[in-house]
């Protein structure tokens, strides 16, 4: 799993972890967020506490307050990309892709190894018709984290619908399929159907969804 990717359960665990650290660290000093298989990363407790609060607003779809909190965080801690990525997500879902793109570009400037940031940037670029840029962003996401499944899927969609590169699309859908999390059932069925359809179109023998697993 990518160290960036999230789902609801993961997020709740993270909130709980952050809250624990915050409560335990009332005396101040650096806090540690550690993910499996990675070296400990130290963050200031003030940053993690405020980030958790902003994430809480975002998770509750209180976008206005989330934006305020993330922007304050950006002012205090310009060295972190996470607030920019979340601002990008919020602005894009609220119909402001231009602002979203600026935030996401800032995010990848800060964190050149953040696959999530590149993936989100690619999404907005594709929406805006910047297909070549979107392709570069998705490829950068894959280069940053070869296990980050969503970048494969999104690159497949780009090739499939907007570039006319059916064979490449098929390849990236299959790469996604090989990396997707088992619990992502909703993604499984539909992408399997896309693969079957594409195989038919490129002339390859269709493979059943079961056989593909």
């Amino acid at each position: 799993m990518s160290r960036h990717s999230t789902d609801k359960s993961f997020l709740r665990l993270l909130f709980a972890a952050l809250l624990t650290l915050t409560l335990a660290g009332c005396g101040g000093g650096a806090k540690v967020v550690q993910e499996e298989g990675e070296a400990p990363v130290e963050y200031p407790s003030d940053a993690t506490t405020r980030y958790a609060r902003a994430l809480g607003f975002m998770d509750a779809r209180d976008d206005a307050r989330a934006i305020v909190e993330f922007e304050k965080l950006v002012e205090s801690y310009p060295e972190y990309s996470g607030p920019h990525v979340n601002l990008g997500i919020i602005h894009n879902r609220n119909g402001r892709p231009d602002v979203a793109m600026l935030e996401l570009q800032r995010a990848v400037e800060i964190c050149s190894g953040c696959a999530v940031a590149y993936n989100q940037l690619g999404i907005v670029q594709r929406q805006e018709g910047l297909f070549a840029e979107a392709e570069r962003s998705y490829l950068a996401a894959i280069a940053a984290d070869p296990d980050y499944a969503l970048a494969y899927l999104n690159l497949g969609v780009l090739y499939d619908l907007y570039r006319g590169r059916t064979a490449d699309a098929l390849r990236y859908y299959e790469e996604f399929k090989a990396r997707r999390r088992p619990e992502a059932i909703d993604q499984k069925d539909v992408v399997d159907k896309w693969i079957i359809d594409l195989k038919r179109r490129v002339g390859a023998p269709p493979q059943s969804a079961e056989a593909g697993e």
Partner: protein, 450 residues
Amino acid sequence: MEDSLRFAQTFPEHEQAAPVMTNAAEEFFRNGDLLRALEVSGLVVTLQPPASMELERTAWTVIAHANFDLEQYPSAEQAYQRLLTMPFAEESDRAEFEDRIAASIYRQGEQARAAGNVDLAVSEFMRVAAVQPESEFAPTAIYDAGALLIVSLRWSEALDVLERFRMDYPDHPFNDDVTQKLAFAYQSAGMSGQAAAEYERIATLSGVDPQLNREALWQAADLYGQQGSMADQRRVYAEIVERYPVPFDESIEARQKLAELAREADDWADRQKWLAAIVAADASAGATRSPRSMTLAAEAKLELAGPTRDAFMAVKLTTPLKESLKLKKKRMETALAAYGQAADYGIASVTTAATYEIANLYYGLSQDLMNSQRPAELSAEEIEQYEILLEEQAFPFEEQAIEIFESNAARARDGVYDKWVRESFARLAELMPGRYAKDERSENIVAALD
């Protein structure tokens, strides 16, 4: 002469002193020794007992002219004023002195202007007209006052002065220039309506560069727009179209403006008229046809196709189906031709819109067939058969619609991704979700601070 003068100065009360000194003053003046001429003539006019009226008049004349030539205009003006109070040697002298007074005041205005004293300069220029309104210097002085006020960005005062000029000297040759200055001053003062009226006057001037006439009309139209006088704006643009078929690029832009203004005015008949005019003008432009004129014509053609589409959509397929379908197909052909012509311009944004509309026409026909009125007299079994037949009729049209939507969506591969290409993708996502309803997957939230 020096000896005679010395005698006269030594014996000023001598009866020959005044004639001698007056003669000497005139002689100095004739020889260009203006300072000596002033000095001696000054003695003449202060003699006791006074010199004769004739000698005194001669001396004042020397004083006036010498001061004028020495550019000592206030003194010159005073001397000429003094001469006006004296009996004239000849009646023609009056006109000359009055003219010299006007000239002296005008020169004082010029000196103040050169010294950067705008208030004084304007005051002196305006005094010319007040003191000598009939002088030929008067209109020039008022004009100069107005011009100086414009240069000094004093719009309100400039407008007063220039409007007065126009009122007092309606036939003066400067009036063309005054009109241009008034236009500029009104515009600078933010008085768009008055400025526009002046620019319209400029457009009628015969003594100026014809390009200025034309540009003035454009300016007038723009200013009427700023003022919100849409009727005047439309009138002026129509005049541009009428008077200036060339240059073509401007002429077609005027038509475009008229089409836009008609839309703003909800004057749809007029809008159609100007859209058609754009198409016609572009078609007959020959070598002057340009990418811009073709774009405007293509957009106009696209909009003009709208009513043909609406007419097609308005036809309901009712029993007897054969008759209503005949009418619907006829209107479809008309609409297809109209959108086809719009697409033929090869303007990307119009082509994608026209293609979308064409696809929608086919889709509309397929849907209308499926939703057409069923014959009342059929049994349930016959209805079933009838609907199978309808599907067979409708399906090829839906297929054609999908193919055309796909051709539009495929333009994305060439980097064309405008509203109509996006809309085509959206329609395809509805019609063929398995192939086209493919959205990217985004994170909902990112927990890593990084």
